[in-house]
């Protein structure tokens, strides 16, 4: 009996060791604020979660001249303010895999998921970390929209942040073919409540679609249904006929929605050239821009605060899935990572893996990205306040400051 007891106890201890090890992996060293400074990260984490790439040689040649900012024992964390799974997380994991090969000194890169409150929790965690070059933020459409809408809970100021790489994912708004055949003029006489837009909440990424409908003067004829769990649930409701207007990322549109043949594209928010003129995204060359639709409908050039708002959304779209670093981070760190980005986007293997995830070749870095960020930061306060007021007063979004 004694013997058995002891062996049972030993099994139990073994089990406990496993438990601790796995728990360490599971929590992915997240949210203990101090863990930004790298090497101290628990062994369980680094061994199982990072793809160590110590053998890569890109940084070795420089090592003789100057010591690189990062060393191979360092861990750079990418904060993903959402759960594992989903588009934003996918992009961050792509960087986790490929970035270490290209940063001088070959530090490890580690994705840390801090989900909660539509990205606000993770972003706030990131915002209060020291700008030491060891924490990056993977932003997303819904997070940057919270900033644009002035969500009070968000403590992150994008003006203090530097985008390192942007992977714009344009969106398409589609309408059921039962109520719309593709000629914008029809929309002028569309019966009330034929347009039913369903999505998660007017306070996140869906605010873009609300603004599009407002801009086309269709919002008052539209029935809004809020509360779907996610974009895919709303798409299911669209297929069921529960809703007739739906917004979706371009890659889902091209891959699934076109084939179903039940949805007609209404409009996209295109990209703005240097003169501020909107153009169609190359991958969505068949979908008219919102400005084109307006012209077709009303036969005049758009203007006014809603026009500014829609243009502002174009800048937001460009930066929707960007990787950020604080502007105050050590200059060497910024240089090292920016340099790595240049090399990474040239890499064939990275490009093909990225294409699988993003369904697009469009990745923006360097000066061109800085310019876009500048335009984003220049969106006028008036225009933003107009948007915020509209959403707060007409759509009941709480917690906005304007």
């Amino acid at each position: 009996m004694r013997r058995m007891k002891r062996s049972g106890f030993l099994v139990f201890i073994g089990f406990l060791v496993f438990a601790l090890l796995l728990a360490a992996c599971g929590s992915g060293s997240s949210s203990n604020g101090s863990s930004g400074q790298a090497g101290s990260s628990s062994t369980g984490t680094s061994s199982s979660n990072t793809s160590s790439t110590g053998t890569s040689s890109s940084g070795a040649s420089n090592a003789a001249e100057t010591k690189p900012f990062y060393s191979s024992r360092d861990v750079i964390e990418i904060v993903v303010p959402f759960d594992a799974g989903g588009g934003t997380d996918a992009v961050a994991r792509l960087f986790q895999k490929y970035l270490p090969n290209f940063i001088d000194g070959n530090p490890k890169v580690q994705v840390v998921n801090i989900p909660g409150s539509g990205g606000v929790k993770g972003a706030n965690d990131y915002a209060q970390r020291k700008p030491d070059g060891y924490s990056l933020l993977q932003s997303s459409t819904s997070l940057i929209m919270q900033y644009v809408l002035g969500a009070e809970a968000l403590k992150l100021d994008y003006k203090t942040q530097l985008p390192l790489i942007a992977t714009p994912g344009p969106g398409v708004t589609v309408v059921s073919n039962k109520v719309y055949s593709g000629d914008p003029k029809e929309l002028l006489n569309i019966p009330k409540d034929a347009l039913i837009y369903g999505s998660q909440t007017p306070g996140g990424a869906s605010a873009k679609t609300v603004l599009m409908l407002e801009f086309l003067k269709l919002a008052d004829k539209t029935k809004f249904v809020w509360g779907y769990e996610g974009t895919s649930n709303a798409w299911l409701a669209f297929q069921q006929g529960e809703i007739t207007v739906h917004s979706t990322p371009a890659n889902v549109y091209l891959n699934t929605i076109v084939d179903e043949g039940i949805a007609v594209p209404l409009a996209q928010i295109g990209y703005l050239d240097e003169n501020g003129i909107m153009h169609r995204h190359p991958e969505l060359s068949d979908v008219p821009t919102i400005i084109e639709v307006y012209r077709e409908m009303y036969g005049e050039e758009p203007s006014g605060p809603l026009f500014d708002a829609v243009n502002a959304m174009a800048y937001v779209d460009e930066l929707s899935k960007s990787l950020y670093m604080p502007k105050d981070a050590p200059a060497e760190a910024i240089a090292a990572i920016k340099n790595a980005m240049e090399k990474m986007v040239q890499d064939k293997e990275f490009r093909s893996e990225a294409y699988k995830v993003l369904e697009s070749e469009n990745m923006i870095i360097g000066e061109s990205l800085d310019k876009r960020n500048e335009s984003f930061n220049k969106i006028s306060e008036d225009s933003l306040n107009y948007i915020r007021k509209l959403l707060a007063e007409k759509y009941g979004v709480k917690g906005l400051k304007y």
């Binding site: 089990f15 759960d83 799974g85 996918a90 409150s117 649930n233 798409w235």
Partner: protein, 501 residues
Amino acid sequence: MFDAAIHALMVLLDPVRLLFMFLGLIMGIIIGILPGLGGMTGMALLLPFLFGMDPYTAMALLIGMVAITHTSDSITSILFGVPGTSGAQCTVMDGYPLAQKGEAARALGAAFISSMFGGIVGAVILFVSIPMAKPIINTFGSPELFMLCLFGICMIGVFTGKRRLRGIMAGLFGLLVGTVGAAPAAPEYRYTFGLLYLENGVALILVTLGLFAIPEMIGLLSSSAMKSTAKLAGSSWQGFKDVLKNKWLVLQGSAIGTFVGFLPGLGGSIADWAAYTLAKKTVKNEQFGKGDIRGIIAPESSNNAKEGGSLIPTLLFGIPGSGTTAVLLLGFMLLGIQAGPKMITDHLDITLTIVWTLVLANIFGTALCFLISKPMSKVRSINPNKLVPFVLVIIFIGAYQATNDWGDYILLMCFGVLGWVMRDLGWPRIPFIIGIILSQSAERYLFLSLQRYEAWELLSRPGVIIIGLLILLTFLGGILSNKLKAIFHTFFNKKGAGVPS
């Protein structure tokens, strides 16, 4: 399609892929055993290894891991009364009392075998339903989903026992606690008291750990008989026979599990409770809650069948029914596959590989579970004085996985105290859990329906009417049958003679 199925089996039987499936299995078993870690964590841990893998191997690894977590999680549930994943809460109800009686091996055997059958049934239904899933899913709009939630809420009555009022109050309180955090259908937060932590709502795992596991530990320590309970009577063979004896119950549980998993938006946690409730209503001479082996068989077959079911909307619509399937979708993305209708045309081979992996992983995984169940069940012979501290450590580690925030500990303590009080004062705790589980979806679908439809439109939908009638039937059924019994009783009593007791 059968040619394709056989081809997919051949693809999977490649030694390298089998090896990866076994890696997945081992990982899945450990993750299942550890409370707080579920399939989602496991998937997230495996993701980095997917880059550059071919899709069949990747599926063998991922699905192998998922398939077994709901089998191995019963080990912790039965031996310690601590649910190994949130899908195993229900197994605690009868598994733990059985273990206390010294029949841990029997309970484990029954749990593993029914879980295996459930998993295989789920896989078979996944295979069969591929061509007809779409029309079925399309008939369940928001109003129908709300009615299903309502059905679930009415089921609370089954667990109230003699203390009706207390049961109903506990259920209502559960619904209330479920509203903490982001409102599902309005852009605002409720009962957060300005705390960012509460904006996410209350994690279910904290509630179950607090409500059931903590009071159990307190009970173990404070009981005057500080002896190790288990004599380890009963064998897993007996559990196997129990399952065979209750094969219809297994089928019933699996069917419920698959159905619940199949409907996107209901949330998997309901599956095992639904099966448990129905079993309690349908079996004879039930001793549920006191160590009835059927109270293990029903939920275990259900929670594993759910995995097959929930893959249907995931694969065909790209709708993640749970955290696990959300990460699985990301895995697809990394492999360059877009979930959707193409999964049965262009990517049929991958879908079929998934079906086969589910089947094989369940069979091999169950065998592995049997191997470790013997040494594991010896843990029960350890003196509670030594055991409880370790289990408490595991509980606290598990709780911290909920959101990795200090708030997890505080909530765990709060619910622990609540659970202890409820246990000692004889308040039913199951209605509370069901209330929390259903709260969010009930509210979400109610508000979606009301925003979208007029009242008469809602009430005239055939789906709504059918489920509504079902609710009425179960509701009145209980009352009516009692009334009828009473009438018969008085009638025969008046006659005086030959009353059958």
